[in-house]
Symmetry: D2
Subunit: 270 residues, 4 copies
């Protein structure tokens, strides 16, 4: 059946014939393979144009920053899945990517939306602090967390965030969104009653939006970065498996508090 009212039927990403593949207007074989890096290609695919050196360096920095942080939930889900289904590495990667959500890892997107809302208000009336207060107030009223601030481990400071802002300064791309991100950090104690530092998921959209990366592709950055990490963990899982060790330890941490037939004694190992 025909769902929705989609009346355009074009795509501007790729076309090909038997001899040539055109990607974003470029001849893939004649111009791109062997001549540009993967990060250039990511920027080209997403934005339609090759990046400047500064744009490439910012995108590289964000991808390196968010790729790996140990045995986090998405990595665990992925390794458990490979242990159970070794025939399909793509399934284990997919399981890991599904954990790039609004709470963990995927919050760069929500933080970008938050910064962009403040930027929109600030560009109208020029006053960043007032725009911050307004948008933070709206989030509080809707009982929404402020995305991109605070971290369970890096409490005093998320060193990755600080380093990303430093790189943005060095490349000369730092701009309005970085300014807003810091204004939020400065104002949160009075607006929320407690201090929260910018975390890596707050810094990523700030430096990327300042560099011209599109808002609605922000979630692609943690997803791409984490995919690299997942491939590394899944290679290790093949060579030195821990999937069932993870699973066993996790299950041991949970008690059964439902009812049971008389005399039933749960196994510690089930």
């Amino acid at each position: 059946m025909k769902i929705g009212r989609q009346d355009q039927h074009s795509s501007a990403i790729c076309a090909s014939n038997e001899r040539t593949i055109v990607v974003r207007g470029h001849d893939l074989v004649g111009e791109l393979i062997g001549n540009i890096g993967f990060t250039d290609h990511i920027w080209l695919l997403i934005t339609g144009a090759l990046p400047t050196a500064s744009q490439r360096r910012i995108l590289d920095a964000t991808l390196v920053a968010i790729a790996e942080h140990g045995l986090v939930p998405s990595v665990q889900a992925s390794r458990l899945t490979l242990a159970a289904a070794p025939e399909a590495l793509q399934g284990a990667v997919a399981a890991g990517i599904l954990g790039c959500g609004s709470v963990v890892l995927g919050s760069a997107e929500a933080a970008g939306q938050f910064l962009a809302e403040i930027a929109a208000h600030a560009s109208t009336d020029g006053a960043v602090d007032a725009a911050v207060a307004r948008v933070v107030g709206e989030y509080r009223a809707a009982k929404r967390a402020i995305p991109g601030y605070g971290h369970p481990l890096h409490k005093g400071l998320d060193p990755r965030a600080q380093r990303l802002f430093e790189v943005a300064e060095q490349t000369g791309t730092s701009g309005r969104h970085a300014e807003i991100a810091h204004a939020v950090q400065r104002l949160l104690p009075q607006l929320l009653g407690r201090a929260l530092v910018i975390n890596v998921s707050g810094a990523i959209p700030a430096v990327l939006l300042d560099a011209g990366y599109p808002l609605r592709a922000l979630k692609g950055v943690p997803i791409l970065a984490r995919t690299a990490s997942l491939v590394a963990h899944l290679l290790e899982e093949q060579l030195r498996p821990i999937g069932f060790v993870l699973s066993h330890a996790a299950a041991q941490a949970i008690d059964y508090d439902g009812s049971a037939p008389d005399g039933f004694v749960p196994s510690r190992d089930s």
Copy 2:
């Protein structure tokens, strides 16, 4: 319950404390962010060591080569999924990655295994042609396709494959696996009775294995590359949606040939 016999419980990828994140022995913030590119980081995560310039260029070339080829099945599955579930971009990416299978896109892994089997036999007795004949014969006996050869569109020649071998020559990394890949192409007419050219999924493992990339992480290359393409398609899907146009056209191509109550006339639109 305790499944399997996994008796080691270590990982060598990442450790952290409140101030420092260590990735593969390097201080993530102090050494890596802003100083290395994403491709370097991918190689580091997967192999445990930073790549040489040649290794980086080969990995870049393969990722650029395989990222995008238009509205292929995995891209369609991803765009259909975002159209139906716009609240979860990660779900649409995951749906696309699940199509990196043994038939489409994921065959680089099988092709790498095929080349490695031939290399193992050839290293024992020195004769590449005999090793090719033996392994191709085993695949034929098991009615398995020869992975990495032939392409539905690029029939005479897959220009991406040719370009990858050219880059490998330029970087000086070309070696035994590229030699074997070409020997297979040369021998297939007599072994199979028909000519098939090396495709991009045959060239990728050849040049990567020659450069020292690990066999069991080969599938990560098309998965990572395709993730970049999916993010680009999903941004376009948000801005210029075609998901339901794709779905409508696909459904129109299929007839119903089951039974039906008397007098029932199917809608062309259902």
Copy 3:
């Protein structure tokens, strides 16, 4: 790292030892297998108690109603995925389930939330029509669609919805939520300026909530039902494949409108 503040560590669903598996307090082997139906077991797993005959009939009716509607986007995504990755049927099922989103198929959950909000207001002040007007007004103000109303194919009437309300009348479980669902349909012309009929995703939460099924498990109903449909389509895909026919027809419906090198002519087949 420790994420969030989860301070309880119990589950009440299952416990086991070497001889016995306890599910929701029942001995799985001694009491359940062979003695109850799958629908009973679904209700037991989700709610903690076996259903009454009426509850079972309502849940059966909703699962049967929503399972299958032809080559919809989620089914297409699933068949495309199996064609590309036949080694992992679970991946193809997962790709299909990922399309149970807020726009297509998954809207039963949003519709249930909508009906529950109206019910909460109505229970306070007793007036259903006023509660409907209030909540519809809030949705309009937030530019949200009214979930559970209107259908692209079944415009005059969604016959599945009507049948579900009929079954609910027969089982005597019909109650406040069905009443509200109909009040919404009656009031929409004046509140929205156009008539929209209750669709199957509006009827499912109405009859299930009236029967005592939990709100936050509503999305499980289309997911479970669609999983049955996906298994059927994936068996057919193995026996009479159409995955690449779907993909080819879909790609043919889309034009390339990006730039290209001079003289490039895209293949109709790429």
Copy 4:
């Protein structure tokens, strides 16, 4: 591009028009909703015909048997995913289903294939024991595990398997595949040198194939059953979350054994 040689373009599962939805030849609204159970509908969708009472009871018994077994890897992956991405319940279900693999949960398919191979040989020459010896020998030669035998927790006997064979006796559907499954169990000590009992994933294909359920849809049974379990666990995860408790306990069980900068002390909590 056109992949593969698919030359038929029909489907026999569903057709519809504005008033009527036909599923497997039946009027969905007029005949099925409210009149048949979900298990009947599953059988109808998959096989094309409504089940007999015996077939329904067998399918019910297998779905009830395999649905739930506590915090197994697929359930953990699913709960971790919901904790990280609560906005997409379908993503958490998909992550769980991806763990229905060849090692855990999905082995019913491989066991069905194994039984079917023996049945094919036995039907030619009439001797079950010889056919068992031949196929077990082939699996040993290929270093493949015997699918459907042995269990990490239920070592002496998998009580679910025993119960399924009992139900098959009661319904009068027990036949050649059950006979073969038991012959394998009897012969394994001499063929493998150790005893292994039939587990639930061995019994499921035996009783289903005997009842006329199709071999290539066998994996659908654990997938469907587990989906019900996942919905229950994901409701509990919303009401009494343990996702991050699982994740924390799992991470604590793993040591870092890679290199690190001088003086670095990993946090126990990272």
